[in-house]
Symmetry: C2
Subunit: 383 residues, 2 copies
């Protein structure tokens, strides 16, 4: 009787209420019924994204919405900054390159954080930069970017700040309007507690100004078309109707809890996972750890690739290994989305089993006990 628990950084667990909503009979999208639903969902999304700007919805994965930001904001030959300290920051660079945009990478080593001072210096060195592309939580390393500080620096320039919040939105704190973030990209399959298949872009007025001057070719991803249709409570092309049902249910759950409480819950669970790892002598890989993903260095002498494999195949707990150069060096837990204390203790119990099975002895209950203690204490203010 193996039970499955997904604690990977997306897809995440989907509440049965949300799955059931996605399985309602499909209605036609060019109807008052759908338009009412879509209009309501759009309002809820603004609350989740903490913005009064339009949040457009695409049938796509998060990468699609990232592409939409590049092709709607820029023209070939434009210069931009891309904050790169992991696989997803590098994706901004790859996207820009694919579309003929000059991207100047502002870099840090994997596990390290790019600072606002670096971004400020890069903006000074590239005064014509049209945009700064950053990542809220760099999923590949677990590092949290100082988005609020980035926003202060970028606000002083003509550039817009575009944040990939695909994994981090509704997990790590992101006050879009209050901080002055221009564009936030997200996907459905992370803290939004949905299956994969929807992607989002919140678009500020400043970003809409840049959008009006963009010349890169676009059709499916057109923000002007999406914004115009959003005003009529619809989409330019056939929306994923059943996913919109699910989105409404998921937003209702998030907003009933309240975004401040949602963030606090993620902070508490992530803090507990870090405390548990440290209690059994493991090292947190990220220097500025996010609450979205907890990345842990594989202990010396352990075959790192086997940790997620045994966790999943023997114990039913899906976590993630390292990607690219991180393969075998780190493993990643994400108490992301529909998670509570007992998911954390389950995952840590499975981790204790797994490490023992790999010959790395753990005193029974040591990691779990540390997590329990941490979850019952206030989260340190610095986190």
């Amino acid at each position: 009787m193996k039970k499955s628990l997904v604690l990977a950084p997306g897809p995440t667990q989907v509440p049965p209420e949300v799955l059931a909503a996605t399985a309602k009979p499909t209605i036609h999208h060019r109807t008052p019924q759908f338009e009412t639903l879509f209009g309501e969902v759009s309002c809820k999304l603004c609350d989740v994204f903490q913005t009064k700007s339009p949040v457009v919805i695409f049938s796509a994965s998060g990468t699609g919405a990232m592409e939409s930001a590049v092709v709607n904001l820029l023209s070939a030959g434009d210069t931009v900054l891309t904050v790169e300290a992991g696989k997803f920051g590098e994706r901004w660079g790859e996207l820009c390159k694919a579309f003929g945009v000059n991207s100047v990478a502002v870099k840090a080593e994997y596990g390290e954080v790019v600072t606002a001072a670096q971004v400020e210096a890069a903006l000074r060195a590239n005064p014509g930069a049209k945009a700064v592309f950053a990542t809220l939580c760099e999923t590949s390393t677990g590092v949290l970017s100082p988005i609020e500080e980035f926003a202060k620096v970028v606000a002083k320039s003509e550039a817009v700040l575009v944040v990939d919040g695909v994994s981090g939105l509704a997990a790590d704190v992101l006050r879009t309007d209050a901080w002055g973030v221009d564009v936030v990209i997200a996907g459905s399959q992370k803290a939004l507690m949905m299956p994969p298949g929807l992607a989002f872009a919140a678009i500020s007025e400043k970003a809409q100004g840049l959008m009006a001057r963009s010349k890169l070719p676009k059709y499916y991803w057109s923000w002007p078309k999406a914004i115009k249709n959003l005003r009529d409570n619809t989409t330019a092309y056939t929306p994923a109707v059943n996913m919109i049902y699910g989105l409404a249910a998921a937003c209702d759950m998030l907003l009933a809890e309240g975004m401040e409480s949602v963030w606090a819950r993620h902070a508490r669970l992530a803090h507990a996972m870090r405390a548990a790892a440290q209690a059994i002598g493991l090292e947190i890989f990220a220097k500025a750890p996010s609450n979205t993903v907890t990345s842990i260095r594989v202990p010396a002498g352990v075959d790192g690739g086997k940790i997620p494999k045994i966790m999943r195949d023997k114990h039913g707990v899906t976590i993630a290994g390292g990607q690219g150069t991180m393969k075998g060096n780190i493993f990643r837990f994400a108490a992301l989305g529909w998670c509570n204390d007992f998911d954390v203790t389950t995952a840590l119990t499975a981790l204790e089993y797994t490490l023992n099975e790999l010959g790395h002895a753990v005193e029974p209950g040591k990691a779990v006990s540390a997590a329990i203690a941490a979850m019952q204490s206030p989260v340190p203010a610095a986190v």
Copy 2:
């Protein structure tokens, strides 16, 4: 106790088995479990698409997969032919224009069909044309293109034939490999009996040759990346896992019935709808009617916009009105996907009610009786 019946040309009715499949717990996509599922689905899709070529899957609406064909086959400045006799043929032209491709429109009036002779003449006049973009069923008019004839003509040239089968696939006959169609685009929400949110492209070897020379910018839509990942039973970016569950269930239903039988069923139901319309003196709008969508001219003296509205709001049957310049002039029935004889009689009963309510008297049961007679007789060979 109003029951809802969707007989619009997409989204269509989704069988409860398929909806239930989409509501299964979301699993992680980078797992052997998902790869097994995805590999099996890919094989089933090849059978549905009637091809041995790769069928790549995008999280997107059908328009996204249409865009993928333009950006993966072409370079800026290329010349192509676009077969345009309705809104969706025109979409090929718009897409080409958006990406800097010269599209030469091969046109017919709405309701008429573009002939293979027209395509042949246009290819002769544009010997460098890289591709011919056509539409299996032009959803806006209900016209069926002679794709087999197009393929014969295009095969004699260097060009590839790209067919928008978004509405028509698995409804009107399409023998992709046997006819030599190079690219077939489709969407999940039509005869594939799924909610909207997945889009597909079947890509022949000839098309892959052209793809290798394409220079238009691409990232999310990259066919080379999609084909490479497909060989490993996965996708480049997070797939819509739950929709893939549903797709497996839907393909199982289609293949259990058999594609020949699926096509014959659509032919039989569409023939019955045409017979019913003609029995009550209505005119079929399409000169070469598809089995995907039955478009009917609004009778003189009736407010055409009210037909779909009363059908839906009073009787619970969702059909489509006309789009663009066709608004108020035609209405469109689609016994598409998960439909049988009794859906047709229900819809026609609602139509009889509606026409009577709009002051256009119909002898009770006349349309329905004609459909019943037609459904019990062999379908004329010419259809």
